[in-house]
Amino acid sequence: MNTQSESSQARAVPLQAGAAQASGGTTGAVGLKRLWRSPAFLILLPLLVFALSVFVGRYPRPFFMPPAVLAEDALAQRLVLNLRLPRLLSALLLGASLAAAGGVMQMLFRNPLVEPGFLGVSQGAGFGAALTILLVGTSPLWVELGAAAFAMLGLLLSYGIARRIRFGGWILRLVLAGIAVSAIFSSGLGILKYLADPISQLPEIVFWLLGGLYSVTWRELLAILPATVLGLAVLLFTRWRLNLLALGDETAASLGVSVRRERALLLTVSVVITAAVVSVAGMVGWIGLIIPHISRRLVGSDAAEFLPLSVSLGATFAILCDDLARVVTAGEIPLGVVTSLIGAAVFLGLMVSPRFKARR
């Protein structure tokens, strides 16, 4: 550009401070925003919660295992190594994947009110996983594949129906179609329950309806590890381009984006990581909706900023919810119940808060 004024640099506002001031932040708020953006903080937060959670449980007594016990008690060591570690790791992957997939879907569908559980993706994955168990067997890889196939089907159905609904704005239509498709897959899952063998298959299927990590061992964790880690890496490394896809198709293409190819890739990755975690954890809702919302509230809408924060907060939130699920009662509360309870409450708080904005 030849016409730029020479003085513009002097008036320059740094890109990030600009966003901070945009939401009317004070000096303190700007400092906090720097924290939310700091890579060290984003990595350390879930790791710290993870490390503390190793000692949370109901052995040798409710709530907390003193570190000394771990050093001496052989049973405690086996418990931590064989049960708590794989479980905490899958909670971490679960939260990170659902939050990332939710944030990505919100950008791709240009709709701040969607998440995998609202688009038929999670329910499709649950149905696919249950169907695979009935027809093929319980091998984790097959279950993951079945989950992924039906998760994709759920998404395609929701999207296709939303495009054909003849009233309402895009946000409303997608949410309505998603609710209907989710309900179809949920009832399908209910029907499968009656076809399942009550001794060997039924317990496995029931848990998809509520979600939980109690059956996770290293075997399940290792089955989902490659897909989720690789998928999260793809989403995180290409995150800035999500902003381009959230513009109109024509604008994005005029900016050099291969719109269809890039959207299909990112959507497939989001569905695959969602299906992977659903195949071991069942339907755990709301994480994909509220975590990206909170993240955008904290650092702004630029995907370069809010997606890493979503992954970090999602992992932290899932570990904390699983801690609650494990320790609050002597039995176990299904994880999906905990995340739905907290998630829906937080969501209501966000919706009625005067700073909430979702324009059509």
């Binding site: 513009s8 890109l15 600009g18 005029s254 630029d302």
Partner: protein, 282 residues
């Protein structure tokens, strides 16, 4: 040009053709009438051309075909002497920037975050925009005169401010050709003029500009050349002095339009069916 790769082809000098279109045809669906048919014209580097015509004349379609967003069914387009099809999508986005008619934004970006998106043509799949990109974006904002808005959230902008920010985003692409789709149609007169002023200022700096409008006033105020379109065809094309006439505008709009010249300016009277003498009050 302060940054980024130089264009693959040499940029045409003023007086040379930047865009040449021959026999362009396009239809959205088989069986429906053609949205474009036999469209041919030439745009010289460093000029402003207005595509003028009533709603539904095919103006937006033509812009999209020129940008390679839609594939023409027939005809040829040359950009800087090279066939449009020989450019990659990324190359094209470094040559031509689009200012869309409107943009639906579901998320609250700051103005600067939004304008930096215009740097996409120069960033790889895994890249994040850097200091240099932020600098180009700020310069683009300064060029259109709204650098003070950098930190503001997009939803808080007025219509006129948003239009200038949309232009700034296209300028961050550092394009040789700027295409604007109805840049002034939803603006009040003062904001319309601010937008047209920016276009003229960019032309002086060497940018080739093509904009669509259904407003003859805006076309006469800003353009050097006109392309008059109706129902997917070009009726007339050429310098404003030759094409901005009562006869040609009336033909384009299918109604009686009178063009008057006064002090070297054009006055448009389009009062067909509304003519009543002004009642003088007693």
């Amino acid at each position: 040009m302060s940054t980024s790769a130089l264009p693959v082809a040499a940029s045409p000098m003023p007086g040379e053709a930047m865009l040449r279109v021959e026999g362009l045809g396009f239809r959205y669906e088989a069986g429906r009438p053609a949205a474009l048919e036999g469209v041919s014209f030439e745009i010289m580097a460093g000029t402003i051309t207005a595509i003028l015509g009533p709603n539904g004349a095919g103006k937006t379609t033509l812009l999209h075909v020129l940008l390679g967003l839609r594939k023409a069914a027939s005809g040829q387009i040359w950009l800087a002497g090279r066939s449009l099809g020989s450019y990659t999508r990324r190359e094209l986005s470094q040559w031509m920037g689009l200012v869309p008619q409107s943009e639906y934004l579901p998320f609250d970006y700051s103005v600067l975050e939004y304008v930096v998106l215009g740097r996409a043509p120069y960033l790889g799949l895994l890249d994040l925009p850097g200091e240099e990109d932020a600098r180009v974006a700020r310069e683009a904002l300064a060029t259109v005169g709204v650098d003070g808005l950098a930190a503001r959230p997009i939803p808080e902008l007025s219509g006129g401010e948003l239009q200038l920010v949309l232009i700034a985003r296209a300028l961050a692409q550092q394009p040789r050709v700027l295409l604007l789709d109805e840049p002034s149609s939803h603006l009040d007169l003062s904001n319309r003029n601010a937008t047209l002023r920016v276009m003229k200022q960019l032309r002086r700096a060497g940018t080739t500009i093509l904009f669509s409008t259904h407003d003859p006033d805006a076309a006469a105020l800003a353009a050097d050349n006109l392309v008059l379109m109706k129902q997917g065809r070009i009726l007339h094309a050429g310098p404003v002095a030759e094409t901005f006439t009562s006869e040609k505008l009336s033909e384009t709009y299918g109604m009686r339009i009178e063009v008057l010249r006064s002090d070297g300016m054009y006055l448009v009277r389009a009062a067909d069916g509304l003519q009543e003498p002004i009642q003088s009050s007693v």
